[in-house]
């Protein structure tokens, strides 16, 4: 049984309809067994999403990581079109729904948060009141800007696939987080500093790239 054939019967597989041929393929193909694990993780996360009106940032992050692991939110040109996406993953229709839910919750949290004075705004009212281009991610953003939990999850994911490059990713994460901290400090000390704001975007670009590469299924 080939990977393409296996992926065509994924829905039945996930519902427990598994025969010896499926089991044999799963045992011999790490890519497909990883795919099954990822789908189960996403399914579990979706159940949690339904059960709660306001998911925590942690859940948002775990969903994001799960989607990245699945390769569903990486850049489209990276997706090899060897077989049609429907054939490769017949549950593709769920992705926009989950993404819309995530965006909706993000906006809700952002709006709610932005109505309340943040710690930074309370402490630095004159600076916060100054007119500025809102490029700097607000401190009330739903997801934490530098989350050690996120990083640990990422390193754990990398470590399970390739322990030898875990240290390298850890060093890169330190570089990127240090860049974010510097850019944030600079942008907060002078909200009109366009260089600092651009640097903050650059630093976040690097972080996004690092996460994308670390969790790309096609890479070890």
């Amino acid at each position: 049984m080939s990977c393409a054939e296996f992926q065509q019967v994924l829905p039945e597989m996930l519902e427990g309809d598994r025969n010896t041929e499926h089991a044999a393929h799963l045992a011999s193909c790490s890519a497909c067994s990883d795919l099954i694990s990822d789908l189960k993780a996403i399914s579990e996360a979706a159940r949690q999403l339904r059960a709660s009106d306001e998911p925590s940032p942690r859940l948002w992050n775990s969903l994001e990581i799960a989607l990245r692991q699945e390769g569903l939110i990486r850049q489209p040109q990276r997706e090899p079109a060897l077989v049609s996406s429907r054939a490769r993953w017949p549950w593709g229709w769920m992705v926009p729904a989950v993404a819309a839910l995530l965006v909706g919750f993000g906006i809700m949290k952002y709006e709610r948060g932005s109505n309340q004075p943040s710690e930074t705004a309370r402490n630095e009212a004159p600076v916060a009141a100054a007119p500025t281009v809102a490029v700097v991610p607000a401190s009330t953003s739903p997801a934490p800007r530098i989350s050690r939990d996120d990083d640990l999850q990422l390193l754990e994911a990398v470590g399970t696939r390739s322990p030898e490059i875990r240290a390298q990713y850890a060093a890169d994460l330190n570089h990127v987080n240090s860049y974010i901290e510097d850019a944030e400090q600079s942008a907060q000390s002078d909200p009109n500093d366009e260089d600092a704001q651009q640097s903050l975007l650059n630093a976040y670009d690097q972080r996004a790239m690092l996460y994308q590469m670390a969790l790309d299924r096609s890479l070890p």
Partner: protein, 282 residues
């Protein structure tokens, strides 16, 4: 006599293991007929990918597989070719290695992805997107195209890129740009240094930034640009006799400078947090 025997055994063992390795290697070739401006994508975990141009409407892929622990998935969907190294159980960086050489139409857009193998593209006038964690990236002789490169640690070299829309992001890879010009040239580095050696073209925007990496930019005396350079905690140096200009920030001697050179045709911005910035005259 005993030493001679031991030497002979050693040589035999080396020859034998080499022969076994060679025997395990497989060479495969694939050919795809394509139309104008095809898209060619190669995803390879271990091993090199090299792309060269040809005049024919043909994509030729030559792959050297190091062992049977890796196989190649390939496909054509209209004008799009996808090639993917598919690692099997037990594959590692050595036996999962595949080295690719591609010949593609000059107007092809190529997307190359690797973890550690070198990536090279040359002589194209279609868009080039290269991504690799530790890959050594070499792009040259590209004209009138987008060139997008991302690495975590791999060094990046771009040579003779003209009329390009260039975007480079690297965490700790060093970036070297030689004769690179275009309407948009942007480098976003963290700890890797950035070397630019060119003339800043005519009418383009150049933005080179780093966190801790040094930035060197070298241009000829007759280059025409408007420059702002600033390092928050590092030092800046300038060899050009710039005409003063207004800046949105306070110019502190030694940590920032700004000015215009000749007719200020291009805009150049150099920014670092703690890297040293040097604008050099060739």
């Amino acid at each position: 006599m005993q030493r001679v025997n031991r030497g002979a055994k050693l040589v035999s063992a080396v020859v034998l293991s080499g022969a076994v390795l060679l025997a395990a290697e497989t060479r495969k070739e694939f050919h795809f007929t394509v139309g104008a401006r095809p898209t060619v994508s190669v995803t390879n975990q271990y091993g090199s990918v090299s792309v060269k141009p040809s005049a024919a409407n043909l994509v030729s892929v030559t792959a050297i597989l190091r062992s049977d622990k890796v196989e190649i998935d390939k496909g054509q969907s209209g004008n799009r070719i996808d090639v993917l190294s598919h690692l099997l159980d037990g594959a590692n960086a050595e036996n999962g290695r595949v080295d690719y050489e591609l010949v593609v139409p000059g107007d092809a857009s190529v997307i190359l992805t690797s973890t550690s193998g070198p990536l090279r593209a040359e002589g194209l006038h279609g868009d080039v997107t290269l991504e690799g964690a530790n890959s050594n990236v070499d792009v040259r002789e590209i004209k009138d195209a987008h060139v997008h490169v991302k690495t975590l640690n791999g060094p990046i070299t771009l040579t003779n890129i003209h009329d390009g829309h260039v975007e480079i992001t690297s965490v700790s890879g060093n970036v070297t740009l030689v004769s690179v010009s275009g309407p948009h040239v942007q480098v976003n580095s963290n700890s890797g240094w950035i070397h630019y050696d060119g003339d800043f073209g005519y009418g383009g925007e150049y933005y080179l930034s780093s966190h801790t990496g040094d930035i060197d930019a070298t241009a000829p005396q007759d280059a025409s640009f408007d420059v702002t350079a600033r390092s928050v905690r590092g030092k800046v140096e300038n060899d050009f006799p710039l005409q003063p200009k207004h800046t949105p920030f306070v110019v502190k001697a030694g940590s920032a400078f700004a000015g215009t050179m000749n007719r200020a045709a291009s805009s150049v911005k150099l920014f670092s947090f703690s890297g040293k910035i040097h604008l050099k005259k060739r």
